[in-house]
Each structure stands twice: as structure tokens, then as C-alpha cells.
């Protein structure tokens, strides 16, 4: 099994969809079929990155496991996963459509 320290390959702060894509593109090229992603040192994750990570992991040809995942990363991944399966409508920033429009 191949152990990959995520913070060293990318950055301690996980952001940008295309960076998640590039990361998984590199994982697909690994020889090993089972990859362990070590999240030691990860400080933050954006919603966009988390969403792209979930999408790519779902379609990845490798078996991916994760270790040492910080709570905030677990929270974000769970949130995006729940949101994907929820039919709840989005909350809007209210009243914008009913405002008078000012010419500037």
C-alpha cells in the first residue's frame, strides 16, 4: 500500500477544484492499487475542494483510504456528502430581487 502525505503533495490548506483534479490525476498514475492518504498537517479545506475530492474519489480506479483526517476536514466532507443527497432547497440571500434599482 502506498502512503501519501497530502500536505506535502499539495499544501496544508486544500483549495481550488483543479488542484483536487490534478491530485487525483497523479494518483491514477501510481502503480499501487491501494493508496493511503495521510492528512497529517492539513489545516483547512474549502467546500469546492471537498466537493471535487468526493467526485474524483468516487470515480477513482484506485482504492483510497484516509488516515489522520482532522475534524474540520471530516466535517466539510460530511457536509458536502449530506448536501449532495439532500433535497433541501438552498437558503437565499433575501430580498435582493425586490429592491429598487439605482442608476449609477
Amino acid at each position: 500500500m502506498n502512503n501519501i502525505i497530502v500536505a506535502e503533495v499539495m499544501s496544508p490548506n486544500l483549495a481550488l477544484r483543479n488542484i483536487a483534479d490534478s491530485f487525483f490525476d497523479s494518483l491514477e498514475k501510481k502503480q499501487s492499487d491501494h493508496l493511503q492518504l495521510d492528512f497529517t498537517g492539513i489545516k483547512s479545506i474549502s467546500r469546492s475542494f471537498a466537493h471535487q475530492y468526493i467526485l474524483r474519489k468516487k470515480n477513482c480506479s484506485k482504492t483510497i483510504s484516509e488516515v489522520n483526517v482532522p475534524d474540520n476536514v471530516i466535517k466539510m466532507i460530511d457536509l458536502v456528502t449530506r448536501s449532495s443527497s439532500s433535497n433541501k432547497p438552498r437558503s437565499l440571500i433575501s430580498d435582493l430581487n425586490r429592491l429598487k434599482v439605482t442608476m449609477l
Binding site: M10, S11, P12, N13, A15, L16, R17, N18, I19, S22, K43, S44, S46, R47, S48, F49, H51, N72, K75, M76, L79, V80, S83, S84, K88, R90, S91, L92, I93, D95, L96, N97, L99, K100, V101, T102, M103, L104
Partner: protein, 270 residues
């Protein structure tokens, strides 16, 4: 230059930039001699406009004002740590080169109350705004600037790109916005409309806005012929006349210093 004093300051800051842009079109020079203070919402679009169009300028008479401009332009990001400002940072065209830039941008968080107490919110905002620029704008030039004003008690953070605009991005996917309602495109983006075919897209701008409004912030978005201003207590939609429109997108955020700590996840639970 006469400005409506009832408008929020970040709106009038943007109009100051438009004034100087108009002055150049008429007089072929920009006279900054009487300027006594620059906010990022004026300075960032002004500096990029001057650079892109080789605009001759008359420098500010106040030496410290001109020194500030030179610092913002010339200071390297490696010198940011411990400073109250982020110099003008240009985003690389290649997104993979942006990771290092983002790490430098996050360093600003060590400076003041709002950002120290809300590291998650600050990093979230930066990463989502920058991701939107790469995902949607098709820019040639994109940049970020930030300034903390400890004596005034607030922080300004500005993102600017010269891309296809929010209405332009939507129009490429079949959504129609006439010039007189391009502010509607900004509203739709704020409410999660996305050009990408996935229900989990379109969260970045809306969630970042909600987080910073909750922190007492103000947000002013200009794109094409439309603009929207938001704060907790005030919301305004604008149609921009030709001399005030923007070929690109500007997002200006002003947040007061605060001890309040926010849980960003409550704004991401949708």
C-alpha cells in the same frame, strides 16, 4: 467629482476609480496630485488600469500617499508576514502555480482581530473567491489586494479580474441578461445559480457572502453593467452607466475588527 454621500464608502471608492478612468479618456492623463488617501477598492482597479493602458499620471503631492502606492506595487509577497497590508498580488494564469500564492495570501491572517479569530472564514473566503476566478472568469489578469486599518477599525479585501464578467459567464450558457439588468446576474450568482451542471456548484460566492455579512461585513460586487452592495442592514442593486461599467469583476469586502468568532459550517449547511 461629486459623489452621493449616502452611498456606502466602498461604493464611492469604486466610483473614484471610474472618475480617474474617465479623466484619462478625456485628458489622456490621470491627475492624482490632490489625492490624500487610497482605499483598495479605488487603488486596485486604478493600478491595473494604469498598467494595462500605459496611462501617464501626475503623482500625488503627498509623499506618503505615493510611497504607499509604490509599496503596494513593488513589495514582494514574501515580505508580507507581520504587515498590515497585502501588496497587489497577481494570480498566475496556471492554476497549479496558485497554491504558493494562496499560502502567502493566508499569511495576512496573523495580523488583526477579525482575521485571527476567524482563520477558517478568512481562508474559506480567499479560496472560494480565487476558485471562482479560475473556474468562471477566463481572465488574462486577476489580482488581489488587502489592507488593515487598525485606527479606523476595519479591513478591506479586494479581488479583481478582467474576465468575461458574471453576466458574460451566464450568457455563454444561455442565460440572457440585458445591459439594464446585469445586476440580476450578480443576484443569481449570489443565490447559487451556476453555469456548471451539478447541484453542488454555485456555493462559493453565496456562502462566503453569508459568512462575512454575519461578521458585520459589507460586500460590493461589480461585474459588467451591474453592481450589488450588501451589508446586514442595507442592500442595493445598481445599473451602471457606460462610464461606470467594468470589463471584468470586482469584489470588494470590508469587515470591521471584531472579537466575534463565527462557525462557518452553519452557513455551508444547505
Amino acid at each position: 467629482m461629486s459623489l452621493n454621500s449616502t452611498w456606502p464608502e466602498i461604493v464611492t471608492n469604486y466610483l473614484e476609480f471610474c472618475y480617474y478612468r474617465r479623466e484619462f479618456k478625456i485628458n489622456k492623463i490621470v491627475d492624482l496630485s490632490k489625492i490624500t488617501f487610497f482605499h483598495p477598492t479605488t487603488l486596485l482597479p486604478l493600478l491595473t488600469y494604469i498598467s494595462e493602458n500605459n496611462v501617464p499620471i501626475i503623482k500625488p503631492e503627498k509623499k506618503d500617499v505615493w510611497r504607499y502606492v509604490e509599496t503596494i506595487l513593488k513589495k514582494k509577497m514574501s515580505d508580507v508576514s507581520g504587515k498590515s497590508y497585502l501588496p497587489l498580488v497577481t494570480l498566475p494564469k496556471k492554476e497549479e502555480e496558485c497554491v504558493e500564492v494562496l499560502e502567502r495570501l493566508y499569511q495576512l491572517n496573523s495580523i488583526n482581530k477579525i482575521i485571527c479569530n476567524n482563520e477558517d472564514a478568512f481562508k474559506y473566503l480567499i479560496s472560494e473567491m480565487v476558485d471562482n476566478i479560475y473556474q468562471h472568469s477566463d481572465f488574462n489578469l486577476a489580482c488581489v489586494m488587502a489592507q488593515n486599518y487598525p485606527y479606523r477599525g476595519y479591513n478591506d479585501l479586494v479581488f479583481l479580474d478582467n474576465g468575461i464578467t458574471i453576466p458574460g459567464s451566464f450568457m455563454n450558457y444561455g442565460f440572457l441578461y440585458k445591459k439594464k439588468n446585469q445586476y440580476q446576474a450578480i443576484i443569481d450568482a449570489l443565490n447559487g445559480l451556476s453555469t456548471k451542471d451539478d447541484t453542488q456548484r454555485g456555493y462559493g460566492l453565496s456562502s462566503s457572502t453569508k459568512i462575512f455579512l454575519q461578521l458585520g461585513g459589507e460586500i460590493f460586487i461589480v461585474s459588467g453593467y451591474g453592481a450589488v452592495y450588501l451589508s446586514k442592514t442595507n442592500k442595493m442593486n445598481f445599473n451602471l452607466q457606460k462610464h461606470n461599467m467594468l470589463d471584468g469583476t470586482l469584489i470588494s469586502i470590508r469587515v470591521k475588527d471584531t472579537d466575534e468568532k463565527i462557525d462557518i459550517y452553519q452557513f455551508l449547511e444547505e
